[in-house]
Symmetry: C2
Subunit: 240 residues, 2 copies
Amino acid sequence: MDVARSKVSYAGTPVACASCQARHGVVCGALWSGQLRELGRQSLRRTVDAGSEIIAQGSESSFYSNIMRGVVKLCKVMPDGRQQIVGLQFAPDFVGRPFVPESMLSAQAATDAEICVFPRDLLDRMISETPKLQRSLHDQALKELDAAREWMLTLGRRTAEEKVASLLHLIATHAEPQTATTTSFDLPLSRAEIADFLGLTIETVSRQLTKLRKSGVIRIENFRHIIVPDMDELERMISA
Amino acid sequence: MDVARSKVSYAGTPVACASCQARHGVVCGALWSGQLRELGRQSLRRTVDAGSEIIAQGSESSFYSNIMRGVVKLCKVMPDGRQQIVGLQFAPDFVGRPFVPESMLSAQAATDAEICVFPRDLLDRMISETPKLQRSLHDQALKELDAAREWMLTLGRRTAEEKVASLLHLIATHAEPQTATTTSFDLPLSRAEIADFLGLTIETVSRQLTKLRKSGVIRIENFRHIIVPDMDELERMISA
DNA sequence: CGTTATCTTGACTGCTGTCAAGTTATGTGG
DNA sequence: CCACATAACTTGACAGCAGTCAAGATAACG
């Protein structure tokens, strides 16, 4: 792991867990206090900069993580350099591939992020001992599968304009849920990353964002900040 | 379910299970004999014609299935008719979405097929009582997730030629595993279905198949039967 | 204030889609 | 067995959406 670019501190006791973002998340929410204490003892928090790699594609990883803050992108790279983002994960999601140590994809921080790292073999043991944890991780896998298949529809059958609208909708609904029809958020991805998520080029992404801006569906401030005056109108762009 | 187009017979005893294709599959391989007997009592075999629907998108399904023979396609349809195949399943795979009765996708037989159908609430109960079964289904979900993400790379970043080669490779490695470098198989999908799996049109699929045939990578007999003289050469077309 | 990274915009190319015609396989009725 | 109809597939001509290449604008950084 890319320890050089991260600040490390020990989260030695459940005291640290008490106020944790992921305390009631997929993993920790399924543990009883003794297990939580043991996991807390063997876990550590890392602050990772945007762009730094948490798991490398093709490598053996002996760790799992929980996302405490920030956004993590899951990415596949081809030998010739083409790449495709195959998933976005938000706090307090779990990151890792249970049961298979070798990762077929890379996980990188898309934004500055904070993660809680713990040993693979410890969690694997807890999974086998804790049906509730197994069920919880099973649920998370199924949700990721649903999301992946939904995105396959976007990649295979939507136009560039619909793709960009789909991404904005995904971010808007996952990053910071709001009640009003007006929504605003910071994009956790650069134009290049958006292109890699949508199967487009940077230029096409930029052009479609401009088109959505000129048609009044969104406003853009400072490249990264997006304002959606009417979410219903954005949803109509997706036609599904 | 589309019972009208299927022949139904009861598989009342584990005797029927003894010679079953799925006996050691994801579900039945994880049950002890008492459970297997109960599941056998409440399950029934159906022979389904190619094209018939097993689960409808947006409907509540109270059944799960095991595929005994044939190929099942998982498909998402947009309101305007565009559609995307998001997964192919082969015997002895499990079909269904545990824990969520409403299906966000349709499952249809791609070829004539035989499936074993059993009640959702019964299996859900067995899952909660049987850690080994939970684990087995968790494994299947993770494998489907890996496959879905691999296909996202194909949909987003590969050319039409690479997409068609990827599909042939997928079928060749899943349908009938062979040892020799020469491989041959029947396509379980029509040109239209291939197009819906690859995010292309029928015409582009046809053109790329012709191109692969003229370049000697494949031979085509009777539209559906494909011969791959050298699998390595096919893999080189995919560049990954 | 200069340098660099990121993003936008424009001109043009080309891959894939659209539309249409032709071909091959399959099934039905005479 | 043949004539016909239908469905599935292939091929060709052309169009258009998204990619490529290049220049310029904006923001971030030292």
